[in-house]
Every structure is written in structure tokens, then in C-alpha cells.
């Protein structure tokens, strides 16, 4: 089965991003399932802020997602509207809003909710994490 994950819980106030990460790893490890991509919405987009500084002795959830994305070519997409209002800004959005810098972490990209709609159409199952 083809899956996509829809995460909308904050990486700081909830374990949504953590649970989704284990789910993603399980899909990747299985033979009969595939992961199409991961869409972050609402406060979950905060995971894509490259200025986040995780204390050294804590689990770095952002880095864990980046590693998964790099190792397995998993697309990590943040909703552009949700991200921009929370200060998660790509290079091109930084130019559009005439800002001094960008804050989007590597391996993450900003896309409209339309991308999520195409996940819904392409996948057998969407799993939500809030």
C-alpha cells in the first residue's frame, strides 16, 4: 500500500512528529508498503526551522527527519501558508517578503496544500498525527 503522512501537531508540545517518524520508519522497513511523502501542517511546520537549537543531550527530532529524508529520498513538505505565518521562510519567500534571511532547514520544502490534495489522490491511505 502507498501511504502519505499528514502531521499537524507541534514538534514541541506534542509527540506527533515523533510518532510519525516511527510510523515512517516502519513503512520503509516493510516490503509491501511504500511512503509517498510527508506533509506538515499547522504547528508541525515548526520542525522546519533551521534556527532550532536542540539541547545536546536531547533527541533531535528535526535532524532525525532530515536523516530519514536523505537516506531514503522521502519528501518533507511544509504547508507554505502555515510555514510563512510562523516565520519558516525559504529563499524565494524571503525575497518575496523582502526579509533579511531565510529560515527553512535543509531537506524541507514549502508547497501549497494542493500538494497534499495530490497525496490524497495518489495514496491508498493518509495517516494523521496530531
Amino acid at each position: 500500500m502507498l501511504y502519505a503522512l499528514f502531521i499537524h501537531g507541534s514538534p514541541f508540545q506534542t509527540k506527533a512528529c515523533h510518532s510519525a517518524l516511527s510510523f515512517a520508519k516502519t513503512i520503509i522497513a516493510s516490503k509491501e508498503h511504500q511512503l509517498k511523502g510527508v506533509f506538515f501542517y499547522q504547528d508541525a511546520v515548526l520542525i522546519g526551522n533551521r534556527f532550532n537549537q536542540c539541547p545536546r543531550d536531547e533527541f533531535d527530532i528535526q535532524a532525525a527527519w532530515q536523516t530519514l529524508s536523505k537516506d531514503y529520498g522521502i519528501e518533507l513538505t511544509l504547508c507554505i501558508a502555515a510555514a510563512v505565518r510562523r516565520g519558516i521562510i525559504s529563499e524565494s519567500e524571503s525575497e518575496r517578503y523582502e526579509l533579511e534571511s531565510a529560515s527553512l532547514a535543509s531537506q524541507f520544502q514549502l508547497e501549497g496544500l494542493g500538494t497534499f490534495v495530490s497525496f490524497m489522490n495518489d495514496c491508498d491511505k493518509i495517516i494523521s498525527f496530531k
Binding site: 507554505i80 501558508a81 518575496r96 517578503y97 523582502e98 501549497g112 496544500l113 494542493g114
Partner: protein, 106 residues
């Protein structure tokens, strides 16, 4: 001319909704090389009323429905709006009407 420019963001949308005037719409239409007729103004005012009532700039499909409901099905067609406002009518009309860019049509 520059007085209007200071009210706009980089893409030409009005920054503060309360700064709108009919003169601003005419200025923006000039920039877009659109000659405003009564048919244009009718749609622009319809969109301003829509925003007043619902606090949202509609995307194309709901816009067409709203036009159809208020002005009849002859005008409530994408092709009619495309002729008046070529390209992306929902974005262009919002811009001319001094309203926020419709979200999620990126």
C-alpha cells in the same frame, strides 16, 4: 503615482485594506494594461462585497459561483472573467479590488 506605489507590496497587492480607493484600482489597472469598463467595475465591486461579507478572497471556482449568483449565469462563467481579467482572474481581481491575494492558489 509613487504615492500609490508605497501602499503596495512587491507583487502589487494593497498592504492595508483601508487604503483602498477607486483611484488606486484605476492606477493598478493601468499597470496591468487593463482598460476598465462598467463590466470590470461590476466584478470588482462584487468581489469587495464578497470580502466584506465573508472575510475571504475566493479562488476561481467559488468566485465564478458568486458571480453567477449575483449577476446571472451569463456572467458566472470562467471564460467571461478570463476575457475581462486575463491570466488568473481570481488573483487579478483581488489585486485590483485592493483585497488580499486569494490564499492557496500558488
Amino acid at each position: 503615482m509613487t504615492a500609490f506605489e508605497t501602499l503596495l507590496d512587491q507583487e502589487g497587492y494593497l498592504i492595508k485594506l483601508e487604503d483602498w480607493s477607486e483611484e488606486l484600482t484605476s492606477y493598478l489597472a493601468d499597470q496591468e494594461e487593463i482598460i476598465l469598463t462598467d463590466e470590470h467595475w461590476e466584478i470588482i465591486f462584487l468581489l469587495r462585497d464578497f470580502y466584506q461579507e465573508y472575510e475571504v478572497s475566493p479562488a476561481m471556482r467559488p468566485l465564478v459561483k458568486a458571480v453567477s449568483k449575483k449577476l446571472g449565469s451569463d456572467k458566472g462563467k470562467s471564460i467571461y472573467l478570463m476575457q475581462l481579467f486575463p491570466g488568473s482572474p481570481a488573483k487579478l481581481i483581488a489585486k485590483l479590488a485592493g483585497l488580499p491575494k486569494p490564499a492557496n492558489c500558488l
